[in-house]
Amino acid sequence: MSLLEINGLTRRFGGLIAVNDFNIDLGEHELVALIGPNGAGKTTVFNLISGFYQPSEGSIKLKGKDTKGLRPHQVTALGVARTFQGIRLWGEMHVLDNIRIAQHYRLGYSLLDCFLRTKNYVHREKAIDAIAWELLEAMDLKDVAYELPRNLPYGVQRRVEIARAMSVKPSLLLLDEPAAGLNSSDVEGLIKLVRWIYDNFPVTIWMIEHQMKVVMSLCTRIKVIDFGTTIADGSPDEIQKNHAVIKAYLGDDTI
């Protein structure tokens, strides 16, 4: 069974068609890219998947379950985590808390447990802590666990955001322009990190990215959209040669 199945997804904002008849079928454990010129509707696709927008038409199925009408936190609970184009960490809470809170959907204790500090509460908080520390350690963030995100360099903030997404234990990880604003050594680090996540976790990674270096060195499959419509879908080699893609990026040369 496929992990994510999108059929005929369309989203209109007033008269503007941001996403038009978008289809994709992602299996378990894939590394895929979504590319396209600015304003092509890429982020809108991610927003639709995470439940931030509701589709105008079409369906999104996660592990066979239609996500229609689900609120974003419910979609996340199904195993979809994401990062944001501009970093959206909770800036006034330290990194450890940022990673703890993203486990909200599987807290496993009630408000009453919280007030009474029951055995269940203590046990669950310990488990949450353990997962958070494990991730911090694995992603080389242990030293900044008690730092506030806004005091960290941009590259580290990106890593924290990815760590936060991973603490959801996602089966689908959506990365929205993870390399944006990074310098070249940070980009190298990012490529390594994504590769490492892909190798160590049973997760399908789907990224929007403009830096072709990142896309070409990581992804096995690339989908290209322009003006909300899919114009190409294939392996990196195929995409590089695709005429429609070149036209979308560089313009029509047959004037």
């Binding site: 204790y109 203590v122 908080e125």
Partner: protein, 337 residues
């Protein structure tokens, strides 16, 4: 043992105050100031959950306090004193020990339900518009009670002192003082446990980035519901205690002026700091008494102080730090689970 120093200290302090009050070392004036201090601590810390931790601007806390005050008063008056509605008291004075805390609980519960008036619209709206809703809620509560002749309308409602008389008839110690101190302790303890849990930190996540919170699996509507209801419920508890301290309530004492006072305490102490709010409540109560000689000018001086605070130290006395953050050595003396 050292880890429990603070806990033991707090209980010892409560016992000491009770004993001092019992033997009239503390006269009635100081006792009443102490009780209002407790009520103010509950009000400031509970409003801080919404205005500080959640970053909303609720300016109708007095309304929820009012609901709690009236509902719990109604309960105790029906149970323990002669009243216009049922006539004779329902229960004998010895039952006050169960009846009084129960009435406080019912009052808090009612206030929490009233909190829904604000909590439900908060799903869709934030900031300035939500502030207006809290304001309108405050006015609605006050004018609703003004129009209920059966509980005295604008003239107020009394008969709550029968409860303390009942308790004292069994054992003559300052019961209301003791209940107020325990209530204060309980509220702060409840709030502390909530905001320090991963569950409760979801509230701060909403304040810092609501969209990120929702997308990173925090059920923001549920968190708002919990925060608003917990906050208004505790305001209700404060109201219930307040009513039984005075033995008399009228709707005007819960109007927008009261809500403003509570806000002053929160912003004086620092948003997002429980110990800050509690300290500010203590300071504010003392200040109100100390400035009594200024008479009408008191309410010129206090706003001026707050204006200066906003200009020169807008984060309040404590910012979002707790006492233990400023004095890490304190941690040695308490263990907080």
């Amino acid at each position: 043992m050292q880890k429990h120093t603070v806990t033991i200290g707090v209980f010892a302090l409560i016992a000491l105050i009770a004993v001092l009050a019992q033997f009239n070392v503390l006269d009635a004036y100081y006792v009443s100031v102490l009780m209002f201090m407790g009520v103010n601590i509950i009000l400031a810390t509970s409003l801080n959950l919404v205005n500080g931790y959640m970053g909303e601007f609720s300016c109708g806390h007095g309304g929820f306090m009012c609901v709690g005050a009236y509902v719990s008063s109604l309960c105790t008056v029906l149970m323990f004193s002669k009243n216009a509605i049922l006539g004779a008291p329902l229960l004998p004075p010895s039952m006050t020990f169960i009846g009084f805390p129960l009435a406080l609980l019912v009052g808090s519960f009612a206030a929490a339900i009233a909190g829904l008036v604000v909590a439900i619209p908060s799903f869709k709206t934030r900031g300035d518009y939500l502030a207006i809703i809290t304001l309108a809620a405050n006015y609605i509560v006050i004018s609703a009670i003004n129009n209920m002749e059966i509980i005295g309308g604008p003239r107020g409602f009394m008969g709550m002192s029968a409860t303390e008389v009942g308790m004292k008839s069994v054992l003559d110690i300052p019961w209301v003082l003791i209940f107020t101190m325990l209530g204060t302790l309980g509220s702060v303890w409840l709030l502390r446990r909530f905001v320090s849990s991963t569950l409760g930190k979801g509230v701060s996540a909403i304040s810092q980035d609501e969209i990120a919170a929702e997308i990173m699996s925090v059920d923001t509507n549920r968190m708002k519901l919990i925060a608003f209801m917990l906050s208004s419920g505790l305001a209700g508890l404060a109201g219930g205690l307040y009513a039984h301290i005075l033995g008399y309530v009228n709707p005007q004492s819960f109007d927008i002026m009261r809500s403003t006072e509570i806000m002053v305490m929160v912003y004086l102490g620092g948003m997002g700091s429980l110990s800050g709010a509690a300290l500010a409540a203590v300071l504010f109560t003392v200040l109100m008494e100390a400035l009594r000689f200024l008479d009408v000018w008191k309410w010129v001086v206090i706003p001026l102080l707050l204006i200066l605070l906003m200009q020169f130290r807008p984060e309040g006395l404590m910012g979002n730090k707790e006492l233990a953050d400023l004095f890490p050595k304190l941690r040695k003396f308490y263990s907080f689970k």
